[in-house]
């Protein structure tokens, strides 16, 4: 255990940082002790990533100072930060996928011989790193051939290779499978015992509880409190993050399923062409779709929604067979999709809230091709009100909203279409607790109104808390179905890892 009174390895004093329109950090202070795992948590937009980017030399603070070993240091570039032993694993993937794993790991710090890159040495030194994080790939494999989770592991290997004294991980597990995440935790423990300090950022409070020696909470760019090892518990963390007590996170009550709303029969997807999938969702029902990352859940939703081609099978909405070869077909049949990647797939970031909210419904509300502006204004007003989207106005550019409010805009797009079936892919990924609760509430409301809700989630708590019924996928097929009363962590994990029930008994 770490001595809390030890001299801090890294110290941040009164750091402030302003972006156009936001004060991201206001006199934030932070101490990182040698060989501890310090978790930094906070709602979306609390300033966690900004603080870390400053430490890593990506951005510069407006005021305040950073001390390393008690001496003030100025970090002007990523290079300098690495030189000081501060290394950041970014929240987003940052790899050049046209290069191989080895090249990415040593990018910016290539070993050289006679002025030329020493490729042999790169491969030689990459191998043990990959072994250490459990990535079974040759360092010569191109990164674009790796799955997202594996790419994240490459990022981690890259950080490990730089001999960090302070290793900052900004939501490293958001795209990792359970297995990969556990491997990561082992590495974290190992590093800590080697005296490396780790700053760990995550919205998954379970992980934080498991890993952290100490928790620092940020709220609205300010220090909101600190928890010592023994004080760390879910409710405490949430309380500090949102600034009030949050009890009763999931207020789930079972919905009475109505008539069949969505029926998927024998659908095959590109990624897992060998398995066909059958599933059913009833009106007014919330069905969770669980599984490890890469199990093919996103692929399934994308196929249902017509983004990717189906390799066969049939989709029926409210008893009608529909041919979906483009999202528009799905939308016309009454399906909506809240996609996995909000910024890439869900929103046109540089457009106004109004324009985003009305995008799918423009066609329905058109008069001979012309925009129906009154209708557009109505929808905007209604959605901002109903979903309590926090925005200065309908003309605000979506980019400047917080993650949770952005997600509400995505939801609003579909609510305006009055869908029969709503598909949600990781609806709360990277969203803070407050916003999460509102999203859950909305899902409940929709189900009450008779919408069939099918949601994908990698968070066990969410699956357990929100589903009337859960389906579990493993390597492209549905390995089991669990009714509300059968739902448990073990049951889901069992199916998700391919064990458990006989798949023949599924969905009958």
């Amino acid at each position: 255990m770490v001595d809390a009174s030890a001299a801090p390895l890294l110290e941040v004093r009164q750091l402030s940082k302003r972006f156009p329109g936001v004060l991201a950090l206001r006199s934030v202070s932070l101490r990182v002790l040698p060989g501890e795992v310090l978790a930094v948590i906070g709602e979306n937009g609390a300033g966690k990533s900004t603080l870390m980017k400053i430490l890593a030399g990506v951005q510069k603070p407006d005021t305040g100072e950073v001390l390393l070993d008690g001496r003030p240091v100025e970090i002007n570039s990523v290079r300098e930060a690495i030189g000081l032993g501060i290394v950041l694993i970014h929240q987003e993937l940052n790899l050049s996928d046209n290069l191989d794993i080895g090249a990415n790991i040593f990018l910016g710090r290539e070993p050289r011989r006679c002025g030329l890159i020493d490729k042999q040495r790169i491969f030689r030194e990459s191998q043990p790193l990959l072994a250490r994080i459990g990535l079974e790939q040759s360092p010569r494999t191109l990164v674009n051939q790796l799955a997202i989770g594996q790419q994240q592991m490459v990022e981690i290997a890259k950080a490990l290779s730089s001999q960090a004294r302070v290793l900052i991980m900004d939501e490293p597990t958001s795209s990792l499978s359970q297995h990969e995440a556990e491997q990561l935790f082992r590495v974290v423990h190992q590093l800590r015992s080697n005296g490396v300090s780790i700053v760990y950022i995550s919205h998954r409070l379970g992980e934080v509880r498991e890993l952290a020696d100490r928790v620092v909470v940020l709220r609205d760019g300010e220090n909101a409190g600190e928890l010592a090892r023994e004080e760390i518990c879910h409710d405490q963390m949430v309380k500090l993050m949102v600034g009030r007590d949050v009890s009763q996170f999931y207020q789930h009550q079972l919905h009475a399923p109505g008539p069949l709303a969505l029926e998927v029969r024998g659908v095959r997807t590109l990624a897992h062409a060998r398995h066909s999938i059958d599933l059913q969702v009833h009106a007014g029902e919330i069905v969770g779709l669980a599984g490890l990352v890469g199990a093919g859940r996103t692929e399934l939703l994308r196929a249902i929604f017509g983004v990717d081609p189906m390799l066969g099978g049939e989709i029926r909405v409210a008893g009608q067979s529909v041919r979906v070869s483009h999202p528009r077909d799905a939308i016309q049949a009454g399906i909506g999709l809240v996609p996995e990647d909000r910024k890439e797939q869900g929103l046109v970031l540089e457009m106004a809230v109004r324009e985003n909210l009305s995008l799918p419904s423009l066609r329905r509300d058109q008069t001979r091709g012309f925009l129906n502006r009154e209708r557009e204004a109505d929808i905007t007003r209604q959605m901002i009100g109903d979903l309590r989207i926090k925005t200065p106005g309908p003309e605000q550019i979506v980019q400047f909203l917080s993650g949770g409010n952005q997600q509400k805009v995505v939801l609003g797009k579909w609510l305006a279409m009055n869908p029969k079936v709503l598909l949600l892919d990781e609806p709360t990924r990277g969203i803070d607790v407050g916003a999460k609760r509102e999203i859950y509430r909305l899902m409940e409301e929709l189900a009450d109104k008779g919408v069939a809700v099918l949601f994908v989630s990698s968070e066990m708590e969410e699956i357990l808390g929100m589903s009337d019924r859960a389906l579990v996928m493993h390597e492209g097929r549905i390995t089991g179905e669990l009714q509300r009363e059968e739902l448990s962590e073990e049951a889901v994990m069992n199916l998700a890892t391919g064990g458990g029930r006989n798949p023949a008994g599924v969905s009958q």
Partner: protein
């Protein structure tokens, strides 16, 4: 809006400066000519704006102008087609070219730059092949048709020999109004702007992005076709190997000056037309002010560059000023609310 202010200011500045230095600039005759040239280039610039808004580019415009012009003259003078049939035919050809570009870019996912670069070569070659590399002209026949390009419509109330509107200007105005309505008032225009910013998100919202993109390329090629007809009728002499060369660059420059971002999703029709006007007025000014013609290129290049640099600096300054203002407001607030 602000973008238009900047470029509009530049236009006014150049006009006033030239007018003061040489009053001939504001003579009826010169204004009519400048208006006519602006209109001809305006037509192709408005077309390319649509493609630029999708985040694409069209390098083949000049060659389409050349092909359409050559074909028109060839059909009329060599094949004896009637004027309406010939015009319809060449516009159909340009439409076909637009569809081809659109299909290659959307269905085969080829890059717009590459597709239209090949188009640049292909259509130029086609024009030269069809006409057997002979220059063609309408001579003094087809005066009726040529009024499309060189005709003038007197303004009611003004004396007969004073200012009259060049017909191409009316054509441009019609095209501009249609284009502006299309872009701002129809769902397709909204789709264009949306997919220019984020194609994936647009597709996920149920927009047939491919179809909308194809429409943009068709608009661009057909505008180039209309431009080609007008240019051909205006110069009345068509060199298949030369007509329209480099026009794509002028059109793109006008669109960029007028506030279109090559990254897509941004642009206004008014801005583009003002952009085209700036370029034409500059050419005119250089000649009127007796600046040596060989400085023409350098001046135009310098003005475009200065324009985009200023635009960038102004944007940065605005961002900074906003931040400073906010800070001041907050500090004032703090001061009034002692903590």
């Amino acid at each position: 809006m602000k973008k238009i202010l900047g470029i509009g200011g530049l236009l006014v500045f150049v006009c006033v400066l030239t007018g003061v230095l040489n009053p001939d600039f504001v003579s009826v005759y010169n204004l009519q000519n400048t208006l006519r040239w602006t209109s001809l280039f305006g037509v192709i610039s408005v077309g390319v704006a649509f493609v630029i808004i999708t985040g694409g580019i069209d390098l083949s415009i000049g060659s389409v102008v050349g092909l359409v012009g050559s074909l028109l003259a060839w059909l009329l003078t060599q094949k004896g087609w009637s004027a309406p049939a010939a015009v319809a035919m060449v516009l159909l050809v340009s439409l076909g070219i637009g569809v081809l570009h659109g299909l290659l870019i959307t269905k085969l996912r080829l890059q717009p730059f590459v597709v239209t670069l090949c188009g640049l070569l292909l259509y130029r070659g086609a024009a030269r092949y069809i006409t057997d590399d002979q220059s063609l002209g309408f001579g003094t026949a087809y005066e009726g048709l040529r009024r499309l390009a060189i005709g003038k419509i007197p303004i009611p109330g003004l004396a007969a020999d004073s200012f009259a509107l060049p017909v191409p200007f009316l054509i441009l105005m019609v095209i501009a109004v249609i284009a502006a309505v299309f872009l701002n008032r129809t769902i397709y225009g909204r789709y264009l702007l949306a997919l220019g910013r984020n194609e994936t998100a647009a597709r996920y919202s149920g927009i047939h992005t491919d179809r909308v993109k194809i429409i943009a390329y068709v608009i661009c090629s057909v505008s180039a076709g209309v431009g080609g007809v007008l240019f051909a009728l205006d110069v009345n002499s068509i060199q298949p190997s030369g007509l329209g060369e480099f026009y794509e660059l002028y059109a793109i420059a006008a669109a960029v000056l007028g506030g279109c971002s090559l990254r897509g999703g941004e642009g206004t029709i008014t801005g583009v037309i003002i952009g085209a006007a700036v370029l034409r007025v500059l050419y005119n000014a250089i000649n009127i002010l007796r600046i040596p013609t060989h400085l023409e290129f350098a001046i135009i290049g310098a003005v475009i560059l200065a324009g985009v640099i200023t635009d960038e600096l102004v944007k940065r300054y605005a961002v900074k000023r906003r931040a400073v203002r906010q800070l001041a407001a907050e500090q004032a607030h703090k001061a009034s609310v002692p903590s």
